[in-house]
Subunit: 245 residues, 2 copies
DNA sequence: ACAAAAGTGTTCGATATACACCCATGA
DNA sequence: TCATGGGTGTATATCGAACACTTTTGT
């Protein structure tokens, strides 16, 4: 028995990554060639997304779809918004694309948006057919369907989360320096912070703990490394909420 | 031509109201009688919700559905989360109910949650067949399907919104006193505030403006009345956010 | 006159902001 | 020895929390 794909329901995933400098997003190339394969009719990008199965949990669908497109595993997803206007597929490119490949698409597709945070942008992405690449979030101009809008909403949600919960550490390596952490906050929130004041604040977060290890091989004073302790966070979370930087 | 209802997609609306004392929610009675109509098989409550039409915008569906059930008009809705697990309809009552009335329901129904805020709980609700009534939010115990979970999530979202945007005024009459406003914040956030400190804070909100009018017919010193000015809010909002991005 | 809620300021500790120099390392 | 980012403290302004009495009205 084959599972039935729902023609009117999809999941789109915004995969964020941080390369110690910029916030990036994983996009899939959407390239349509002419029948003879010689010329390109159009080429643009979309988020990682697809339709869900009839008997598939919504949250599991996000995991499966991203794995299908990128080979990435063990990602954690957070749902942020659902998009269901009637004009989601308005651009001519979208229409052409659907005519070519969209045998499972009904007139209006409702899509549930999820995002995930990856600790680096050098992961081994298995390109299964379509090209998948990282793009700086603030340089993304147009995307397929309403994916630009979806990306904006994901970012908005991420900014809120970052200031209320310790989600930023998912975008950092296990061991990180305070400068990296500061750069991350600056990249996502689009602000500049004073180094001393930033560190003063972090020093109050008991769950950001220094380890007996320093940076190596850098042409300057090596930085102290820190880790995020979920255990300490859980213990102290009731005492206070101080993520506002 | 008749419009086609989508069997796997619905909208559930959490209608909040404030009676100057408690936060309330509008619920629809779900009563199943035996065939002879003499005994009640079960009776419980659900949120206002229903399936959406194939050619219907998601946001418009919320408006239509609540109007169909209550006659209420001109409500503003805010989408907060989408529920799509496979076990949403697990309780025996849900199964029985669907067997009786659920000709349009597929195995897993994905539902998009919206909430709306009403300035009072004395509105003229037109009961179209099923009983609709207000219940204190913190006394709601069990609800049909996963509606309790949906209600919790809506509340959580409302609490966040209340602390970041001036949405609370939608739950107050046009002209309100500062004590009413304080009670509202206390009811939603589940906290107690100091009267003087609360007023100090409100006095910094330039968009909460006193009018030339006082409370009447109360057996104590009549309170100054205030209104919320969306215009002033919009003007000052940009000033406050101007260092972001 | 009494009951009931309205209205009003000050003090104190905590937190936010602004700001400049020396340090350790690899090249 | 130089370039690079790492690391540190203090002073001032602002904000939040605690706290008690007088005022105005209807009954």
């Amino acid at each position: 028995m084959t599972r039935k794909l729902l023609t009117n329901l999809s999941v789109d995933c915004v995969i964020f990554g941080f390369d110690m400098d910029q916030l990036k997003v994983l996009l899939v190339e959407r390239k349509l060639k002419s029948d003879d394969g010689k010329s390109i009719i159009f080429s643009d990008h979309s988020l990682t997304g697809y339709h869900i199965y009839e008997d598939e949990d919504l949250d599991s669908a996000a995991i499966r779809i991203v794995n299908d497109l990128t080979g990435l595993e063990n990602l954690k997803f957070e749902q942020f918004y659902t998009f269901g206007s009637l004009d989601r597929i308005a651009h001519p490119n979208d229409q052409i694309w659907i005519e070519q490949f969209g045998d499972v698409i009904s007139s209006r597709v409702l899509t549930v948006g999820y995002y995930s945070l990856l600790p680096n942008t050098n992961m081994n992405i298995i390109q299964k057919g379509r090209k998948v690449n990282w793009f700086p979030v603030d340089q993304v101009k147009e995307l397929a369907y309403d994916h630009k809008e979806i990306l904006e909403k994901a970012l908005e949600h991420l900014r809120y989360k970052l200031q209320n919960e310790p989600v930023g550490f998912n975008l950092l390596p296990e061991k990180f320096t305070l400068s990296q952490m500061q750069k991350l906050y600056e990249a996502i929130l689009g602000a500049k912070y004073d180094k001393r004041n930033f560190r003063k604040k972090v020093s109050q977060m008991s769950y950001v703990v220094p380890i007996k290890e320093k940076q190596q091989g850098v042409a300057h004073k090596p930085a102290q490394l820190y880790i995020f302790s979920p255990e300490v966070y859980e213990k102290t979370r009731k005492e206070r909420n101080h993520f506002f930087i």
